[in-house]
């Protein structure tokens, strides 16, 4: 089951944003090589296995570019 869903067209890029990478406790995000339609480099989907579904990437992504399913989105306080 896929836990983290990316919407790369919504992303504004790992270069200027990169918040997902910063807030992921497992550091699962790296930039893709391919620009999206707006010219930004979105992250690659994280390695599902390592993901804890903590929800950080979703909650912090300012551009609604990530959804996390089935995790304790509300649970873990920083």
């Amino acid at each position: 089951m896929q836990k983290v869903i990316l919407f790369p067209q919504s992303c504004k890029g790992m270069e200027d944003c990169g918040i997902c990478a910063f807030v992921c406790p497992r550091s699962l995000f790296v930039a893709s090589e391919e620009m999206n339609e707006s010219g930004y480099l979105p992250p690659l989907p994280p390695d599902e296995e390592k993901c804890t579904a903590c929800g950080n990437c979703m909650i912090y992504c300012p551009d609604f570019a990530i959804a996390v399913e089935g995790g304790a989105v509300d649970g873990s306080e920083e």
Binding site: L6, F7, F22, S38, Y40, P62, D63, D74
Partner: protein, 276 residues
């Protein structure tokens, strides 16, 4: 991979494809915090009217949110929102706007709405700068900081907006940085449910303007700063003011109940025979 949509997408106008914010701008985090609050409260967009002023932050509801939305002039959203609330007392009226909008040009409406204790939720997006106009000093810009209009350093003291609104009479006042989006959501929920004037001061990164002028740089750097320097009110209360230099005090500053404007009008009229 993405036939699915983002779970909060349903609260956005279908015509709007993406946010208007710069990469890494905290406005989007606050938008999520707000929508998640609505989601968790089980309310629908038809329960709300959103009002905003002018500025980057004012574009959070306009046109993004799929609800009745009034995008007004610079500084005036709380005044407009007061009229909306007088006309639609059963709706949740939520103002989302910037620190410049609400505390510089609009400061008077902010304190008077708080004083009146009119039932309303204000999300004050505090990025410490005028974002949209290009990085000028705001009333929230720290003393000494170099900006476009204070090239030799800001000679003015900054507002503690939450303290100001507490003093003005707000019923619920909380401050959170974008590094604490979950707490922010929780506070927004409380604010929406509060019968009275409620404000969330959302401290947020503006990498494009504040980041540039302050030389704090990227969104991630600014979030790091929030992480390092954010401190809870409960803890701060026990500290010496000098220790709080450079810290960002977060938490709930007031949560009380007192007569709300619109219900007071009704109550007084009943009492003095103004209403049949």
């Amino acid at each position: 991979m993405s036939e699915k949509t983002h779970p909060l997408r349903k609260y956005m106008r279908p015509q709007v494809k993406k946010t208007t914010f710069c990469p890494g701008c905290g406005a989007g985090i606050i938008t999520q915090a707000l929508l998640r609050a609505i989601d968790e409260l089980g309310l629908t967009m038809d329960d709300f009217v959103f009002v905003s002023g002018i500025g980057c932050s004012a574009w959070i509801p306009s046109p993004l949110l799929n609800a009745d939305t009034l995008h007004t002039t610079h500084g005036r959203p709380i005044a407009y929102a007061s009229g909306v609330k007088m006309g639609l007392p059963d709706k949740h009226v939520v103002v989302v706007s910037g620190d410049g909008d609400l505390s510089a040009i609009g400061g008077n409406h902010l304190i008077h709405a708080a004083r009146r204790n009119i039932d309303m939720t204000v999300i004050l997006v505090n990025n410490g700068i005028y974002g949209m106009t290009g990085g000028q000093t705001a009333p929230t810009t720290p003393y000494g900081l170099t900006t476009i209009t204070s090239p030799y350093g800001n000679a003015e003291q900054e507002f503690d907006i939450s303290a100001l609104v507490v003093a003005a009479g707000g019923s619920y006042v909380a401050r959170w940085t974008t590094y604490h989006p979950r707490q922010m959501t929780k506070s927004i929920k409380k604010a929406i449910q509060k019968k009275g004037f409620a404000m969330i001061e959302a401290i947020t990164q503006c990498p494009m303007q504040f980041g540039r002028v302050s030389k704090q740089g990227s969104a991630v750097n600014m979030l790091k700063n929030y992480k390092q320097n954010g401190i809870r009110i409960e803890k701060a209360a026990k500290m010496d003011p000098s220790e709080l230099q450079g810290k960002i005090v977060e938490g709930v500053f007031v949560d009380c109940d007192k007569p709300e404007l619109i219900s007071s009008v009704a109550a007084l009229q009943r009492r003095t025979g103004g209403k049949e």
